[in-house]
Symmetry: C2
Subunit: 310 residues, 2 copies
């Protein structure tokens, strides 16, 4: 199966602790790297996770709070020092480019590569990225400032040709692409060979959803229905539910409830408040509701469709 | 002896590695904390070194390259989140305040404390800070952009009263301050008691000098003469001496030569290039010239006048 892996670079929240970096993740889709949020130190954690800067071309920023974007300036500068030439694309709620422009101009007088900012609206779910194998759509969230999560969806793959059957029916080569795309085959004698006899179905298209920072939302539940892996913030334990509501955050138990109701396959919680010495209480409260929950931790790598990698 | 300790928060250079944070240090002088440079992740390392944000009131920035100041925005924001009320003072070559103003305004709409920027000239050695027990002066350096090191000098302490002698001569209490400051005492009978009989000398005033980033300079050698501890960048090994010259940096051996010629008591080298897997070669080249050299490393704590702490 093609690679579809999530690397946690940081899973703390705004206040620094001795245990966590602020939020950043990297999704590895067939060796293309997609960064999601870029808190302070993201470039250091990126290196620690043994990822390659040259494979990173797209960065998605959920919202303009410092713990989700203060690592951008250092990362952009490092790529410049390294003499990068490929374009770099940054997707975020509007305002980021104007905000960063003076610092970028001062610290990177000459850029070896081009930087493109793609502001998105945060009110409606919108597809903001597409390539041959993947789409990325926003997931509108509700936080103290405009904020979106992201849904990474593989495109359905092509059916796999069953070599023996194609040989048996002497299917000409020029028909193979149509058949991969689901077409039946009609022999010169007029016999119809259904596609299902000529192919095996493609591996199921996989989906990863990232939701942070936000109140728990019914609209999110619908948008992430059935995903293979859901990252949802679980900043607080239940005892701090009023604090979560006040600050537009989610408790671990609320994240688990949403995961269960949305029928996702697996949940990873993060964006942990600095108040917790460790997050076992949050895990306990979540697994009671949704057993397939794991705690995020720095340098953790999860296969989106399967077992923990490291 | 009063505390005078150096904490290394980061000792890498511009490119991120898996082993080092960019430059930042904290000098603890009698439990007042002075930060020197503030590379990305400095606030995380500050916490890791178990230092207290409330004791930090002064930050000294050597020059406006990202690996020496990209941690400021995060640190300033964190102090705001924590509801700090005490003033914070930042000393740097000119331009920093204007550069940071838009980001500061956006990410910290309301500040709970006041921030004061103190730009300094980088051409001449100048005293830029003074309190009851300490002065801080700039050390002009030569780098690709305006840059200064810093000399932290304890003020000479008062002599210690020898209780037995003061009792013996029945010195009135109101004379004690003068005697601590070095005055002799004249008894009612007109006998002169020399100060040296009434006091023990104060502990020697200690000095710490920080020099990064720079070419090796004769003027620095004079300004740091005899200091208890010298931090000097030693970015490269000898094989890269041409590269060091080209980029306005110093090799470990050059730093050691400067330390020897300046008669400093101890040298710590840092600002290591990302090209070295470990820095044993740099240490070797330095100790051959100046044996009392140590390698900086993250969370290292050195007593300015003595042994390694952790």
């Amino acid at each position: 199966m093609e690679k579809f892996e999530l690397h946690i670079l940081g899973c703390g929240s705004a206040l620094p602790t001795t245990r966590h970096f602020p939020t950043s993740q990297v999704l590895n889709v067939r060796d293309k790297l997609f960064m999601i949020d870029c808190g302070e130190g993201a470039q250091l954690q990126f290196r620690k996770s043994r990822l390659k800067f040259s494979r990173l071309n797209h960065i998605f920023i959920s919202h303009l709070h410092g713990d989700h974007c203060f690592g951008l300036l250092g990362l952009i500068s490092t790529l410049n020092l390294l003499g990068r030439t490929a374009d770099l694309h940054i997707y975020s709620p509007k305002g980021l480019e104007e905000l960063m422009a003076p610092m970028l101009a001062f610290f990177n007088r000459e850029m070896t590569y081009r930087l493109f900012f793609h502001p998105f609206e945060t009110k409606e779910a919108t597809q903001i990225y597409e390539d041959r194998s993947l789409t990325v759509s926003t997931i509108p969230l509700r936080h103290r400032i405009p904020c979106c999560g992201f849904l990474f969806a593989e495109k359905p793959g092509l059916n796999h040709i069953v070599r023996e059957m194609v040989d048996y029916y002497q299917v000409p080569l020029y028909e193979l692409n149509r058949i991969k795309n689901g077409a039946d085959y009609v022999t010169p004698e007029g016999e119809l060979i259904p596609n299902s006899r000529l192919t095996r179905p493609a591996a199921p298209a996989r989906r990863y959803a990232y939701c942070s920072d936000t109140l728990p939302l019914a609209s999110v539940r619908e948008q992430v229905r059935g995903v293979d892996l859901l990252f949802h913030e679980g900043t607080f334990a239940e005892e701090a539910a009023p604090r979560a509501r006040e600050t537009f955050h989610t408790t671990a138990a609320q994240a688990a409830t949403l995961a269960r109701e949305a029928g996702v396959k697996r949940l990873v919680i993060g964006h942990f408040s600095a108040r917790y010495e460790d997050e076992s209480l949050l895990l306990q409260e979540a697994t009671r509701i949704f057993p397939d929950t794991v705690l995020a931790r720095e340098t953790l790598c999860l296969s989106v469709d399967g077992a923990e990698k490291t």
